[in-house]
């Protein structure tokens, strides 16, 4: 294994300006494949969801999935693209065993959507506009299993086994224009773009866009140019970077690698790179020389697609509220800052908070619990908020109990702890753990009397006007009631009994 030289990130950015291009493939959530009626359900027996068309059997022909087209147009519209008035599919010709026809049915110079943009929010709430070159339709390949090699990798395998269930599943490929001017924030922009795109795809309900399942895959193209130069440098293409964090790391790594190569007087080779999750590095793949010739030509087996303008407008009118617009609206409704909104987004808590509010909780309370206690639990367990095991309805119930005075914050935390531990719903936990604010004035008064008697010196100080000393008596009362008292009420009672104005 050769060691790759890396320049420090800061030094790299002090000399060079990164230019990125991001290519994202999204598998659509259609019921059937792009060009045949085979099911797309995951997890089926190998080769059980295939037919003459997606196996590329002699004589078979493709027919376009209407929802595939509709989804592509929706994505295009949501990305502020123009929608082609007339476009064709093309054949991209190259041999590979996972591709049954040895050409991919794709789009070439006539994409269905082009010339758009996506505004993405960075960590600090600043907005960066990523220009979209095109979004086009194509089909996925089959899956190969490499047998006989050490690690299931292609190298060293004795043979491979092919399952074509995935072959022909519709893909939308979304390609950005070169992303310039992000400077040191380029990796962050890359991550934020993919995150925003994922939110958008989910909001459109055209795919679940689960990156860990390969439903959304990103290629990161990156080049460096010295500050002040306009021409782009040679780019590397890091393939199949399949998590948000990896997108950021891959971009960062390539910036440092390119800078080291350039600084040592070397040249960047135009090649594909493989990203490694383990250490965030990339290694060289295939060199992209010009021998590669896909011989694109219009697909004669499919007729052109000419989406009627009325249909396009109908689809536009039917678009759901897009994530960014929704976030802006919620930000105003909840009265929070850009930065706070960004934290909510990063935590994946928007839908949960919204649902909690829908269950009757005040916005600030809903946000407080999800972003506080529950976010902490999420960090500790490594589970997503949504998978913690507490529902928005339960959080709303906790906030209701606090509002009516049955719980104070400290008790509410214990209730949530119980819910997370699987002890049941909030009311059940309150019941089982006996967590209830002592609201019986008589019992509370007795506890105050007991505390005063036990702390006569402190009581004197308070009588003498030192109100700050009240804290010690309140603490003593809370201790006596095992925390189940409303601290505010205890303070009132202490001052009242000592004859002091609060």
């Amino acid at each position: 294994m050769t060691v790759t030289d890396l320049e420090s990130y800061e030094d790299a950015l002090s000399v060079y300006d990164p230019v990125m291009g991001l290519e994202v493939h999204v598998e659509l959530g259609t019921k059937t494949k792009m060009f045949c009626g085979c099911s797309t359900t995951l997890g089926a027996e190998p080769n059980s969801q295939t037919c003459p068309t997606c196996l590329g059997l002699p004589g078979s022909l493709p027919v376009v999935n209407a929802i595939g087209i509709e989804s592509a147009i929706k994505i295009g519209l949501a990305l502020n693209c123009e929608i082609a008035t007339w476009c064709r599919f093309a054949r991209k010709n190259y041999f590979y065993p996972d591709m049954p026809k040895n050409f991919q049915t794709s789009q070439y110079d006539e994409p269905i959507a082009f010339n758009g943009y996506l505004d993405v929010a960075l960590e600090d709430g600043e907005t960066f506009r990523v220009e979209i070159e095109r979004a086009h339709m194509e089909e996925d390949t089959g899956k190969s299993l490499h047998v006989g090699g050490a690690t299931g990798r292609i190298h060293g395998a004795s043979h491979s086994l092919l399952d074509y269930n995935r072959a022909g599943i519709p893909l939308i490929e979304i390609v950005t224009k070169p992303i310039e001017g992000a400077g040191s924030r380029a990796p962050e922009v890359a991550k934020a773009y993919v995150a925003e795109l994922r939110e958008l795809i989910k909001a459109l309900d055209v795919s679940e866009a689960r990156m860990e399942q390969g439903q959304m895959r990103c290629d990161v193209n990156l080049s460096l140019r010295p500050h002040g130069r306009e021409a782009f440098g040679t780019r590397s293409e890091t393939k199949n970077v399949n998590s948000l964090r990896s997108v950021e790391r891959a971009a960062r790594y390539e910036i440092m690698r390119h800078a080291a190569v350039l600084n040592s007087g070397g040249t960047i080779v135009q090649e594909t790179r493989h990203f490694h999750e383990e250490d965030g590095s990339t290694t060289a793949g295939r060199i992209k020389d010009n021998a590669e010739d896909y011989r694109y030509f219009p697909e004669p087996d499919l007729v052109p697609i000419a989406p009627a303008r009325e249909w396009v407008e109908e689809l536009r009118a039917g678009l759901p509220e897009l994530p960014r617009v929704r976030r802006d609206r919620l930000k105003t409704e909840w009265g929070i800052s850009d930065h706070e909104m960004q934290s909510v987004l990063n935590a994946g808590a928007i839908d949960l908070i919204t649902a909690t509010i829908d269950e009757g909780a005040p916005a600030d309370q809903a946000r407080k619990w999800w972003m506080g206690e529950l976010a902490r639990a999420s960090n500790e367990t490594g589970k997503e908020l949504a998978d913690l095991g507490v529902s928005p309805a339960q959080v709303a119930r906790v906030t209701a109990l606090v509002a009516e005075g049955s719980l104070n914050d400290k008790l509410a935390r214990q209730v949530l702890e119980g819910v997370l531990a699987g002890e049941g719903g909030p009311d059940e936990v309150v019941e089982k753990r006996g967590l209830k604010v002592v609201s019986d004035e008589g019992a509370l008064g007795a506890a105050v009397d007991e505390a005063i008697a036990a702390n006569a010196a402190v009581a004197d100080k308070i009588r003498g006007g030192n109100l700050a000393a009240a804290g010690a008596l309140i603490g003593a009362v809370m201790k006596l009631t095992r925390g189940q008292a409303d601290a505010k009420r205890v303070r009132e009672l202490v001052l009242e009994k000592l004859g002091v104005q609060g």
């Binding site: 059997l57 002699p58 027919v63 010709n93 040895n102």
Partner: protein, 497 residues
Amino acid sequence: MTDLTRLTAAETAAAIATGEASAVDVAQAHLDRIGAVDEKVHAFLHVDTEGALDAARAVDERRAKGEKLGPLAGVPLALKDIFTTKGIPTTVGSKILEGWIPPYDATVTKRLKDAGIVILGKTNMDEFAMGSSTENSAYGPTGNPWDLTRIPGGSGGGSSAALASYQAPLAIGTDTGGSIRQPAAVTGTVGVKPTYGGVSRYGMVAFSSSLDQGGPCARTVLDAALLHEAIAGYDPLDSTSIDAPVPSVVEAARNGNVQGMRIGVVKEFGGEGYQAGVMQRFNESVELLRELGAEIVEISCPSFKLALPAYYLIAPSEASSNLARFDAMRYGLRVGDDGTKSAEEVTALTREAGFGDEVKRRIILGTYALSSGYYDAYYGSAQKVRTLISRDFEAAFGTVDVLVSPTTPTTAFPIGERADDPMAMYLADLCTIPSNLAGNAAMSIPCGLAPEDGLPVGLQIIAPAMADDRLYRVGAAVEAALTGRWGHPLLEEAPAL
């Protein structure tokens, strides 16, 4: 007892419907004929004796139950080996698919079965339909029943030879540049290339997707029309299939008449390279049309001179892509897999061993024409020519109802004569190619024997897209007049085998 193999398809269907003959007897008579003569002709690559008899038996049973039978129920048919047949080998005339048994039926196959038509077997063809002589079959050439040392046309030579040697009254062909019409012309039979999109291509192994069209082959115009109706019509499995009613071709074939029609003679078809006897019979046909009441108009289609070059760029380009799937991974031949070679090497070795010369030549030519740097000059220009040819046709059909020409410049040439000269071979499709490029409908019917060699000459009739019925109206009128003049169908002059 009449020889059941000498009946037309219409007569056969009538005999079965009335109970004069059983479908099984008809099938058996044809199977016997195949047994007797096909060793000499080599029209079939695969004979499905059991399947044919089973299908015939099913027709007889339905008749016995009093069920209504379709117009061709029980009639035997020879199917070009380019259509997939579930459970029956489909080779496309190539070694690369030797032994392949498709798991599905082509739409045409399905419609034939649904119509109660009895499929006798699969017929010989130029490998992947690339050729005009059937000499490019990996399984050996087919002889022309008029002279077994001559070619039966191609690529559908097996189908045309089966008809001309009375091994089947019906056959199916495919026409990419003339592969239905040219074999019909040189064997004295009838062949129709329907409007592109008229007959489903689903399950028809692709040569050149934008040009390929399946169609009927028969010994009479009416039989071709009956078969046309059985196989044509919208198919949701083929995106290029026309979603409109099939033109009423049978009605047209029953009412042959050219009275008052305007018929165009294409000036560009003729002259150098055209055999004198072919031109003589063609000119007589034009005269006949005039006598039958048609108005004859000379038409010029200047772009047709570029049709052949455009075709030899478009068809190989599409073929180079269509044939990429034959890679030894999922079906068909696999060569060189000794455990040390890579998938890439095995694919290249298999394709080298499995494809014949003409197929390789066209794959290379097509790969070249599509290459970056050459695309605009070759493939791109060829597509512009295609536009110009369509415009020529449009202009012509603005003036006339149909066009006529010789189907081929010459009669059947001897086997082997043009085998080493691809350009000479390509000339056989000179008159048929424009219709493939434009997608319109065309037919070839026999119009006599060339005096110098006594071999059949074809008359080509071309109609606008979706006006296939005009072919049958004109074809039936000419056929009736000529058989009247000859006193018998032309095929009866063919020597006994």
